[in-house]
């Protein structure tokens, strides 16, 4: 809950829940460092359901602690990372996933950046090449004089 208020707090003061625990607690940590590392990796991608855009790894809310414990339980039981995440989604819904799985229209989300880049590069290459090929025509020669006059004016 706390960090979501970065900035926002300066502007609209959301009531903050008074919580005692601070993110991952020592008693949660698994003895097996490999499993623990996987648990940390998963919990960074799971959103705290009652907070404002915070992952359960950083969150202080009790429900995040429950989720962290569930994830570790499943890992100890031998689940793969994907199985653990499926388990969490089945109970809390897709909302808790910070890294949404590709489904339905989500390709728009992922592809809009690259598509915009391709469009922008293609468009500007087209325009620039045409302009470069056209070269300074008679119009621009005229305006060069004007430009010189402008610089003259700017100077004094």
């Amino acid at each position: 809950m706390i960090r979501s208020c970065f900035l926002a707090m300066a502007l609209l003061l959301t009531p903050l829940a008074a919580t005692e625990a601070l993110a991952v607690q020592p008693d949660e940590i698994l003895a097996d460092p490999g499993l623990e590392a996987r648990a940390r990796m998963i919990s960074r991608e799971i959103r705290c359901p009652v907070c404002q855009g915070e992952n359960i790894d950083d969150s202080n809310a009790p429900i995040s602690r429950d989720l962290r414990l569930i994830i570790r339980e499943r890992l100890v039981a031998g689940d793969s990372n994907d199985e653990v995440i499926d388990f969490v989604i089945a109970r809390y819904g897709e909302f808790v996933l910070f890294n949404p799985r590709l489904s339905g229209w989500d390709w728009v989300l992922w592809l809009s950046g690259p598509a915009a880049l391709v469009l922008a590069l293609g468009g500007s290459w087209f325009v620039l090449r045409r302009r470069a090929l056209a070269g300074p025509g008679p119009v621009s020669r005229l305006t060069d004089e004007e430009e010189a006059r402008l610089r003259e004016l700017l100077k004094d």
């Binding site: 707090m9 625990a21 959103r47 910070f98 809009s112």
Partner: protein, 712 residues
């Protein structure tokens, strides 16, 4: 009484802003100098009225006037004076007043310093600025009045959110607003130019300093917020891709694009309509940021209903200015004629590439931030988009930007010679490669040996450099960067371990590239050192500003990569008196005791950090509890260092008598803030360039000679 005067001043300011909008626009349209002349006094009076209202509100906070509702909900008599003052803008209504104050200040600045502008352009700029003022003053008066009284004044207030009671955050909002609102000037200039149908070098020379100033303020504001998150939130993170953070990051990206494209307009009279479009979009994103933050629509879709009036009002403001601006753009952009012609490989093209990458980056952040809202409204799906998406989708654009930055910055205007630039950048590429290799060696524990080998190789190469043929030199950056990109792709495919070295290498490439740029301007090969230094001293400040700001960005890339890759974390239960290992250090929890602050109680730990038996530092991390608001904050104990921060946090007491403790080593953390400071400093250098200081003043002194100054 004073409070009512403040309220009244705001109403008057709204009236003045209306006059400031309508009369000068009409006058400029009809060619009536008398009406246009209204603009300047109106802007100044509007500023004075809002400044008075702001002063009244500050006074209410300073004297703890609990008959004012806003003071009751955000202040307390025991609060330290600094936070009583900063409490003025630590809430929705007060921050909005600060927003409008800065808006009016910029309008008045256009009146004070705009003497050299053509009369029509000046009148229109001030009028458009006034119209933004009308919108926000109306918003404040109708939905968010800061001067509401309490019917029954309580004995004491409810205190300011304790997280806000911090020097870093006290000054974070004002800087951000200076940036957000600064972009309104670029917007006003863009609209005025569209109405007048004229964009030329003189116009760009006016727009660029305003954009640059706005960008500098945004940089400082974002850095302050990030720094605050780092030391205050208790686990050493500095950026979270939170919607509210993104709200400030998008205008920053677009302002960066705008200040680069304005260079092309100013120097080459090209990219005019694109620059106008960017100016409209940059301010549009400022407004979108305001909307995201104040309506609460993104952080939680459901809280929109809690204050629909405010959200809808801002949406209307956003729609009016962005929609209106874009419509005007569509109608008039054809009138802007480009004059400068340039080749495909040139400084202009490089700046176009910079603009594309920054704008597409901003677009990706926008899509990611808004997608949950779209998905819920259009697809009926409740979902989240967070850090994993932004890391994967945004970072490639920034990596590409860092890769091409040193090349683009050194290309010549009009027609560049890429071979020559690559040759000049060869030493920078080799130095960056050395930094990357060194980082690998240090993390593998072979630092000293690698350093000796690299220094030897560097010295040898420096002695032989003059004999290395140009053809080979020109290949060096391509080979090094190609290797880096391949390694990056390989690292993304296989795991993260190689991202750190590649990231620091990329950062070093930008830093050394900026140095190479400065060096190449100090003379040709063979110029004696004294001559080079002399020329460096006399380079225009804009050149220095460019190099400093670019190097700052390189330092930021370097530091972010290092922190993400090599952060060390320990979470443990420690009994008082016991020690635990943190990387090469040993940390002892010497004592935990209760302390009292002015308006909080604190659990303070005393932790002694040792290395090899020798004491490094003693830190006092705290957990504070603010009784009035009933919430805890963590105050990490941080030992700031050149190469690393040691970051200690005290947690809760455990059942078996120990304490939960979190400890981190944050490599190169200070470099992040230093990099941001360098970027801002570079902007300031550029802002103080001779052409901005001299051109307006020169034009002013020239005016009396002309005697008659026609209204254009």
């Amino acid at each position: 009484m004073l409070i009512e005067l403040g309220h009244f001043a705001l109403i008057l300011a709204l009236m003045v802003a209306l006059v400031q909008t309508i009369l000068p626009l009409w006058g400029a349209w009809r060619g009536r100098p008398v009406l246009m002349a209204v603009a300047e006094p109106a802007a100044v009076v509007q500023f004075a009225l809002i400044a008075f209202a702001f002063g009244v509100l500050t006074w209410a906070f300073v004297t703890s006037d609990f008959s004012v509702a806003l003071v009751v909900s955000n202040s307390h008599t025991l609060k330290p004076m600094l936070y009583k003052i900063s409490g003025t803008w630590g809430n929705h209504e007060g921050s909005l007043l600060l927003w409008t104050l800065i808006l009016a200040l910029f309008g008045a600045s256009a009146a004070w310093f705009g003497g050299a502008l053509p009369a029509r352009l000046r009148a229109r700029v001030i009028a458009v600025q006034g119209s933004v003022g009308v919108a926000f003053l109306a918003f404040m008066l109708f939905t968010s009045n800061p001067f509401l009284r309490m019917e029954m004044p309580p004995m004491d207030g409810r205190d300011l959110n304790p997280l806000l009671q911090d020097p870093g955050l006290a000054f974070h909002p004002p800087f951000l607003y200076l940036g957000y609102v600064g972009l309104s000037m670029s917007f006003s200039f863009a609209i005025a130019a569209l109405i007048g149908g004229r964009v030329d070098a003189a116009w760009a020379r006016w727009v660029r300093p305003w954009t640059l100033a706005a960008w500098v303020f945004l940089t400082i504001g974002i850095a302050l917020g990030s720094w605050w998150a780092y030391y205050e939130l208790g686990w050493g993170g500095f950026w979270f891709w939170d919607p509210v953070e993104n709200a400030s990051f998008m205008p920053w990206l677009l302002a960066a694009a705008l200040l680069h494209s304005a260079i092309v307009v100013e120097k080459r009279e090209s990219l005019k309509s694109w620059t106008i479009l960017l100016a409209i979009l940059a301010f549009g994103f400022s407004l979108i940021g305001t909307f995201i933050v104040r309506s609460g629509v993104i952080t939680s879709v459901h809280s929109f209903a809690s204050d629909p009036e405010r959200g809808i009002f801002i949406l209307m403001i956003l729609g009016f200015f962005t929609g209106g601006g874009l419509t005007l753009f569509a109608a008039r952009a054809g009138a802007m004629q480009a004059r400068g012609v340039f080749g495909l490989v040139s400084r202009e093209s490089a700046l176009v590439a910079n603009n594309i990458l920054l704008a597409v980056g901003a677009f990706v952040v926008f899509i990611g931030t808004m997608w949950p809202l779209f998905a819920e409204l259009l697809l009926g799906r409740v979902m989240s988009v967070g850090e994993p998406f932004f890391n994967a989708a945004f970072t490639p654009f920034f990596v590409a930007l860092a890769l091409i930055l040193p090349l683009g910055a050194m290309l010549a205007w009009k027609r560049g010679d890429p071979g020559r630039v690559l040759g000049l950048l060869a030493p920078a590429a080799l130095a960056a490669l050395a930094v990357g290799l060194l980082s690998v060696a240090i993390t593998q524990g072979q630092g000293m040996i690698a350093l000796l080998v690299l220094v030897g190789a560097g010295l040898g190469l420096a002695l032989l450099w003059a004999r290395v043929p140009q053809l080979i030199r020109r290949r060096v950056p391509l080979i090094v960067l190609g290797m880096a990109v391949l390694a990056l792709i390989w690292a993304v495919q296989t795991g993260r371990s190689a991202l750190g070295p590649i990231g620091v290498m990329l950062g070093a490439w930008v830093v050394f590239g900026s140095l190479a740029d400065l060096w190449s301007r100090s003379g040709r090969e063979g110029t004696p050192l004294a001559g080079r230094l002399g020329r460096l001293r006399h380079l225009p400040r804009a050149e220095w500003g460019k190099a400093i700001a670019h190097a700052g960005m390189g330092v930021v890339v370097f530091s972010v990569s290092a922190m993400l890759a090599w952060k060390v974390e320990v979470i443990a239960v420690v009994a008082p008196g016991d020690s635990f290992a943190l990387g090469p250090y040993s940390v002892q929890l010497a004592d935990v005791r209760a302390e009292r602050g002015p308006n909080y109680i604190s659990t303070m730990a005393e932790m002694v950090v040792r290395r090899g038996g020798a004491q490094v530092v003693t830190l006092y991390p705290e957990k504070r509890s603010y009784p009035v608001q009933g919430m805890p904050t963590t105050e990490a104990g941080i030992d700031y260092g050149w190469l690393r921060d040691i970051y200690l946090v005290i947690g809760d007491p455990q059942e078996n008598g120990g304490w939960a403790v979190r400890a981190y080593i944050e490599p190169f953390a200070n470099w992040l803030w230093a990099g941001c400071a360098l970027m801002a400093l570079g902007g300031l250098f550029s802002l103080s360039d001779r052409r901005y200081r001299v051109a307006p003043a020169g034009a002013k002194s020239a005016r009396p000679r002309g005697k008659e100054v026609p209204a254009e």
